[in-house]
Amino acid sequence: MLPVPTEYYLVLSGVLFTIGVIGVLIKRNPIVIFMCIELMLNAVNLSFVALGRHFGHINGQMYVIFVMAVAAAEVAIGLGIIVAVFRTRETINIDEINLLKY
């Protein structure tokens, strides 16, 4: 009945999520890492919406709205942190940020 089966969306969302994960793991620029995290969140959003449609109720979309709010706040904080780090160290390469270890 649904033109595109929900599972398709879910798998797509899983793939996007995984790409986001890979990005987080292999990128060195925290901004890009952060972008990859946003990618992961969006992947989840996709599955929320798809599931919501599947169940025929609005809840799936509600989650997305909250996730967007969270993402927005997260960006504010995250970029603030990145700026602050850049101020103290003049770099944001996370491979150079390891004063704290062991």
């Binding site: 879910l10 999520f17 986001g20 987080v24 925290p30 890492i33 952060f34 995290i37 992961m40 969140l41 992947a43 989840v44 599955s47 929320f48 599931l51 169940f55 109720h57 809840n59 799936g60 509600m62 989650y63 909250f66 996730v67 969270v70 706040a73 997260e74 904080i77 995250g78 603030g80 942190i81 990145i82 602050a84 780090v85 101020r87 103290t88 160290r89 944001i92 996370i94 940020i97 390891n98 004063l99 704290l100 270890k101 062991y102």
Partner: protein, 499 residues
């Protein structure tokens, strides 16, 4: 369109007053700072303390009103029961002590800004939402409020590279973890069509066989919350962040994040207890890894903050034993067993021990100097016996040695574990706590056995607030160690199943 009925809102708001008070206070402090005192005075701290007390009074009020019944608010998205009550009280105690710690610490560090208290109150409110949450989305939002405020607090000392490093590490990993949590929520939603914990429980109880999506979702929830709780292998941020963050923040986050995360874990996994068979092995593995490696890793630490960080990982492992001991509930009387009681008791113990230990660190950090290394404690008992023996109590309590509160907590977790068949875990826990004692004792012998070297650690200036923290914590550690009955009774009144 159906007519919207707002009549229940005022009652619901009453239920949430403890949190709302904090929100209002945060706003008030911001305004006050802008218009009145401008970071100069102690007002924000005092106002915060008052607000916390008021919030606690609301808690007690709610409790006395709804004494023996569980109730929910805001269309079941918030639960009001003894767990939320105790969780809120624990968090408010944490906040109270944290404000006092910060009062002294921020002065000595030259960080005395009102924003700190705003963020602190907001983050406590987030954690309180986590404890109240009866819906995964509320849980998620609460967790994010807590986390965002903590990211900012960790990086609060903006001129310190260490602080900012800690902040960015915490932030990146935290965001990463919360993405997993969210994915987990979506999977649970995909199976249950709802994220309400009551619904989840009801549906899970009626499920036949396993749903892969549900199980994967449960696993990802465990990851997301396990990160906040600092379980191995999601722990690696902990030492770095504890180390880099301003000490007062470390103290606060150690306790508050743990309370929020574990009460959330309790709620979630209790709701999921019908599928305990599936998640139990994972929980057991995380518990064992955390207990063993948390303690082992702590042994070789030289920085007290890192040591306490690893110890907090180990404590998370102990608490995980309680999670693993959650009974498979069938009656609908949820979170009434020994497992949740013992976990909450332990969280209380952990609050006092941790706040006390960090309090001592703050107490020993005079202006311009920050206490860091365990070696700085050498001979403390000669130069400052009160601080030294106070610290000794916290360490012994963290080590779970009677007659301290830490022992009483550990003992109850043992009981819940044994009662629910987790004997293997209790044995691992017992043996792991031997390793733990090893490094706690190292702190103790540095203070007491060694002679002071060079200039002895001086007390911080304007240390009255932090001294009161030490006094409160030490008192609680001993009193609840000797007579835990009152606290336990608070945990059991609402609790017909437990004897």
């Amino acid at each position: 369109m159906p007519a919207i009925d707002f009549s229940s809102v005022s009652v619901d708001t009453m239920m949430l007053m403890p949190v709302i008070v904090l929100w209002l206070t945060a706003a008030a402090i911001m305004l006050g700072n802008t218009f009145f005192w401008r970071d100069k005075r102690a007002w924000p701290a005092i106002i915060s303390l008052v607000a916390i007390v008021v919030s606690a009074l609301f808690c007690f009020n709610i409790r006395s009103t709804y004494a023996d019944s569980m109730t929910t608010a805001f269309a079941d998205s918030v639960k009001v029961d003894y767990v939320s009550f105790m969780g809120n009280i624990a968090l408010l105690v944490t906040a109270f002590l944290s404000v006092l710690v910060a009062w002294t610490y921020l002065r000595n560090k030259g960080l005395n800004r009102s924003d700190y208290y705003v963020l602190l109150l907001l983050s406590v409110s987030g954690a309180m939402l986590m404890t109240d949450a009866n819906d995964l989305i509320v849980l998620f939002l609460g967790l994010e409020i807590l986390s965002f405020a903590l990211y900012a607090l960790v990086g609060f000392s903006t001129k310190e590279a260490r602080s900012e490093e800690a902040s960015i590490k915490y932030f990146l990993l935290g965001a990463f973890a919360s993405a997993f949590l969210l994915y987990g929520i979506s999977m649970v939603y995909g199976v249950m069509q709802s994220t309400n914990l009551d619904v989840i429980f009801a549906k899970a109880s009626q499920m036949h066989g396993f749903s892969a999506m549900l199980l994967a979702g449960v696993g990802l929830l465990l990851v997301g919350l396990g990160f906040k709780a600092a379980l191995i292998p999601f722990h690696q941020w902990t030492p770095d962040v504890y180390d880099g963050a301003p000490t007062s923040v470390t103290a606060f986050m150690a306790a508050a994040a743990k309370i929020g995360a574990f009460i959330a874990l309790l709620r979630v996994f209790d709701a999921l207890s019908p599928v305990k068979v599936a998640w139990l092995p994972a929980v057991q593995i995380l518990a064992i890894l955390s207990m063993i490696f948390g303690n082992i890793l702590a042994i070789s630490q030289t920085s007290l903050k890192r040591l306490l960080a690893y110890s907090s990982i180990a404590h998370a492992g102990y608490l995980m034993v309680a999670i693993a001991s959650l009974p498979v509930s069938t009656t609908g009387h949820r979170l009434t067993g020994l497992a949740s009681q013992s976990a909450i008791f332990y969280l209380f113990a952990y609050v006092f021990m941790t706040m006390g230990a960090f309090g001592v660190m703050v107490y020993l950090s005079p202006e311009g100097k920050e206490f860091q290394s365990i070696k700085d404690l050498k001979g403390l008992s000669r130069t400052n016996p009160v601080a030294a023996y106070g610290m000794m109590f916290f360490m012994l309590s963290l080590g779970g040695i009677p007659p301290t509160m830490g022992f009483m907590g550990k003992w109850q977790i043992f009981m819940s574990a044994v009662q629910n068949g987790q004997i293997m875990l209790s044995i691992v826990m017992a043996l792991a706590s031997v390793f733990a004692v090893y490094y706690y004792l190292r702190v103790v012998y540095m203070m007491t056995f060694e002679e002071p070297v060079g200039a002895s650690p001086k007390a911080a200036t304007s240390c009255a607030p932090v001294r009161s923290v030490l006094a409160i914590s030490a008192f609680a550690t001993i009193i609840f160690g000797l007579a835990p009955g009152w606290l336990i009774s608070l945990l059991t009144v609402n609790n017909p199943a437990a004897k």
